[in-house]
């Protein structure tokens, strides 16, 4: 059988917000683009984003601007963010939102008819553009429809709607190919038929999202298996700070089959209150020193904030996610949780049933249909769920080019650096748009200067052999069981609270599973065979888990999405260090690298007394680089 071959200028792996935005940008630069989705077009995990997209448009509070947003983002990330990414994000986010509107998005409105903005954890002003609690759906649909609009234009100009952008749905990429040290394309298979496909393209943009399925309790869909993280590692790229995982404080906890499904932060943004089994509003006991100035320490002031934000401090339910997740975890561990191991989240006492159904329609629907709970009358039971990976491919901020691999780019959740040690809610959707666009532009520029880079027969044969291998083995390991074992290990040993001893044990156990995974065999044929698909996803998840555990054991402090029981505090020395993961062909190696220091103009945006809480005296004395 002859191999199916395609030739494009740019190959985008991933059809969520970042991938589609990158594809639009590369197409508009005049290039031919292929978009790969692992599932159907328009089903990417972006659809599940609920709360909104953070952009300092200042529509609701005109004190907002990019500098305030930048400060909030750095605080949320505990100053481990790559400053340049946080800066670009804060500056460009409003344009990316307005652009969506020009493409047909219909956000909720203010009284003046502008895009409405809502409050969210860690954001000083109402900042999240939203559509009820289905903002991600609006974003993905708008991008999907923008792609169709461009295809229709190509149909008019070239007589073929798919002449310049083609979507390859239900296709998995198993290898990024290189020739002469530069990207030459990618290899994979159709999920429907199992038949193999070669893409020749001098530039590849990875936009594959997250890694949640490495964990047992997660808000992520099946696609979050860290494919892009692993593809990048194997292609010679670096991953940065993979120890930082965000456990969203509010996932569903009951019934067991829905455990982990997200309960949007908007519930708290709209006034939802967290209480333990004793009815205590416990978040007041968990306000960290660095946030004391900004958060109310009593219920009366917190309640007043919902109507008067200028004269009151914010309720502590709206602390950054890492703080709230740890607080819930502590309450449950101290025996003050519900019988199902969660806490209560109640919005029914603050808002009328009508308003709840209007502002949080999919939450109402989700609890009513899946848990038999009417959130307009009763509290929800919630607990932490693995939601987002802050770590990811190390990129050059302005172009999203992966460090060390010419022709490779990464944007969205799969890229690292932007969010530091903890992402603020709402910053993900605008991250996708800002850096998706930059990756598309970066790839376009690269292709125009580099030209074609043909794939060799040797590379094709090696990639093909890998896909066939699990079918040739008989009576080997079952990928479903290995996946379940891995999830058990990450959940118990690399979860929300970590210790050196447990991480050490995790590293050994993950290595054992990796050894066994080399012997996975698959029953049945190639046509739409989930056992076969999981064999490749598993390989990716194992690399990601190894990178996370090995980075986590090195970082001897607690910061954002990395909490060490044996090193409870933040340590300003560690703030200057990124962990870089590389792959040597057999295992992940983690080394330290200096975090680029804040330049003076950004350093000066902060009150120096605030920076003293995060930086060493030497850094403060310098007053920023250059």
């Amino acid at each position: 059988m002859t191999l199916e071959r395609h030739n494009y200028d740019v190959l985008v792996i991933g059809a969520g917000g970042a991938g589609l935005r990158a594809a639009v940008e590369a197409r508009e630069a005049g290039l031919r683009v292929a978009i790969i989705c692992k599932s159907l077009f328009g089903k990417a995990h972006t659809v599940m984003a609920e709360g909104g997209a953070a952009a300092s448009m200042g529509n609701v509070n005109d004190n907002d601007n990019w500098m305030v947003h930048f400060r909030d983002t750095m605080r949320g990330g505990k100053f481990l963010n790559h400053y340049r990414m946080a800066e670009l994000h804060a500056k460009e986010a409003p344009d990316r939102i307005w652009e969506l509107e020009v493409w047909g998005a219909l956000f909720d409105r203010t009284k003046e008819g502008k895009i409405s903005q809502r409050n969210f954890g860690g954001h000083e002003y109402p900042r999240l553009a939203h559509v009820g609690d289905r903002t991600g759906l609006e974003l993905i649909r708008t991008m999907q429809q923008r792609i169709v609009a461009l295809q229709q234009q190509d149909g008019r100009d070239f007589g073929d709607m798919e002449s310049h952008i083609k979507v390859f749905a239900e296709l998995t990429i198993t290898d990024i190919l290189k020739e002469n040290g530069k990207v030459s394309g990618a290899y994979g298979y159709w999920r429907e038929s199992g038949s193999e496909v070669l893409f020749e393209a001098p530039a590849v943009i990875i936009a594959t999202g997250g890694v949640g399925k490495t964990f047992k309790i997660t808000s992520n869909s099946w696609e979050g298996t860290g494919d892009g993280h692993a593809l990048a590692l194997k292609a010679g790229a670096n991953l940065v700070d993979m120890e930082f995982l965000q456990f969203h404080p509010t996932g569903m906890v009951w019934p067991p089959s829905v455990r982990g499904i997200l309960v949007t932060e908007s519930v708290r943004g709209e006034g939802g209150v967290l209480t333990n089994i004793n009815g205590e509003r416990f978040m007041f006991n968990y306000i960290p020193e660095v946030f004391k100035k900004m958060y109310a320490d009593n219920p009366e002031e917190a309640d007043r904030w919902y109507t008067d934000q200028d004269n009151n401090r914010r309720p502590p339910e709206l602390l950054p996610r890492d703080e709230v997740a740890r607080a819930i975890n502590s309450e449950v561990k101290a025996g003050r949780g519900t019988e199902h191991g969660g806490v209560f989240l109640d919005v029914s006492k603050r808002l009328s049933a009508e308003v709840i159904k209007k502002r949080l329609p999919s939450m109402w629907h989700q609890f009513y249909e899946l848990a038999g709970v009417d959130i307009t009358k009763e509290p929800m039971e919630v607990g932490p769920t693995c939601h987002y990976v802050m770590g990811g491919v190390e990129v050059e901020p302005d172009t999203a080019a992966a460090i060390g691999v010419p022709g490779l780019f990464a944007a969205g959740e799969v890229a690292g650096g932007m969010h530091g040690s903890n992402r603020l809610g709402g910053n993900s959707l605008t991250d996708l748009l800002v850096f998706g666009r930059r990756a598309g532009a970066g790839a376009a520029e690269y292709v125009k200067s580099s030209g074609k880079n043909p794939v060799s027969e040797g590379a094709i044969n090696a990639a093909a052999a890998k896909i066939q291998a699990p079918f040739d083995r008989q009576g080997g390991e079952n990928s479903y069981s290995l996946h379940a074992e891995l999830q058990e290990i990450t959940h118990n040993l690399v979860g929300i609270i970590r210790t050196g001893a447990e991480l050490d044990e995790a590293i050994k156990k993950i290595a054992e599973i990796r050894k066994r995974s080399a012997n996975v065999s698959v029953s049945g044929g190639r046509v739409f065979n989930p056992g076969f698909h999981l064999a490749f996803d598993l390989d990716n998840m194992l690399l990601v888990a190894e990178s996370t555990a090995k980075s986590a054991i090195k970082r001897e402090e607690s910061r954002g999405g990395h909490t060490r029981d044996d090193f409870p505090g933040m340590n300003n020395k560690w703030r200057q260090i990124n962990h870089i993961s590389t792959f040597d062909g057999t295992q992940v190696i983690v080394r330290e690298q200096a975090l680029p220091p804040l330049p003076k103009e950004l350093f000066d945006l902060f009150d120096v007394h605030e920076l003293e809480k995060y930086m060493t005296p030497e850094e403060i004395a310098k007053g920023g680089s250059n």
């Binding site: 659809v47 599940m48 869909s221």
Partner: protein, 252 residues
């Protein structure tokens, strides 16, 4: 506690297939997709099923459960009497690929045929002003998760392959309605092309689509009927007909 469930699953491919009976554990609160996954992990490693979010937001796990089009992730096992066999089959309107997975590419082809959103050429980013009440009409249709259950249940194409060519289906009637009601869209003849090119006229408003919509979008009442009424107005109202001849109005 776990109990045993009798599950009957259609297994096969584009050439042939049959229902197979399995017994599987089911726990409190589980949905049909949970038990299908358990069958997959323990008894049939190659059982094909599409799914993504398992939270009713992505519209991937559409199938027919006891003959009714449903999302498997939003269908509680407890909704069926204990002891009863639950039968799961693939969507009937689309060609089977394997087991519970069908070829839904029809829908993506139709999506490409609907003229895109057309904003005024001079609309600058950030300058749009719309009232909430005006965007809400379109927002209802933008809740669509593209599960294609409405397409599957629509009898114009359910057992009539020959109609597929000229019929876009309820999912795309609400797309046209959404653009038609979009406060900024300037393309004038959407209702007319819905009727003449996308098969709106073939719909005889039995409301099956509305009944199966997991997002409870009032497809028939709020999209299809208003468009049909306006088309009829324009086509048969003698005064309007005369007006259109005198002043050469574009579209409507």
């Amino acid at each position: 506690m776990a109990r045993k469930l009798n599950l009957r699953i259609w297994r096969g491919d584009s050439t042939s297939g049959a229902l197979q009976d399995v017994q599987v554990d089911v726990n409190e609160g589980e949905v049909v997709l949970d038990v299908i996954h358990r069958v997959q992990a323990t008894q049939m490693g190659d059982l094909a099923v599409r799914w993504n979010c398992k939270a009713g937001k992505c519209g991937s796990c559409s199938m027919e459960i006891n003959g009714k089009p449903r999302l498997a992730c939003m269908t509680q096992v407890a909704a069926y009497p204990e002891g009863e066999t639950i039968t799961v089959t693939p969507l009937r309107t689309f060609p089977v690929i394997k087991d519970l997975v069908t070829d839904v590419s029809f829908n993506y082809k139709k999506a490409m045929e609907i003229p895109a959103y057309a904003p005024p050429a001079d609309l600058a980013p950030g300058e749009a002003r719309m009232q909430q009440v005006d965007v809400e009409r379109s927002q209802e249709f933008r809740k669509c998760i593209e599960c294609f259950l409405c397409q599957n249940v629509c009898h114009v194409i359910r057992d009539h392959e020959e109609n597929k060519k000229s019929f876009a289906g309820p999912r795309f009637f609400i797309r046209i309605a959404e653009l038609d009601m979009h406060p900024l869209d300037i393309l004038k003849n959407r209702k007319k092309t819905a009727q003449e090119e996308h098969g709106l006229g073939m719909c005889n408003i039995t409301k099956c689509c509305t009944e199966v919509c997991p997002e409870h979008i009032r497809i028939t009442d709020n999209a299809i009927i208003p468009m049909k009424e306006r088309v009829v107005d324009v086509k048969y109202d003698p005064a309007r007909w005369l007006g259109s001849k005198i002043r050469r109005r574009e579209g409507i």
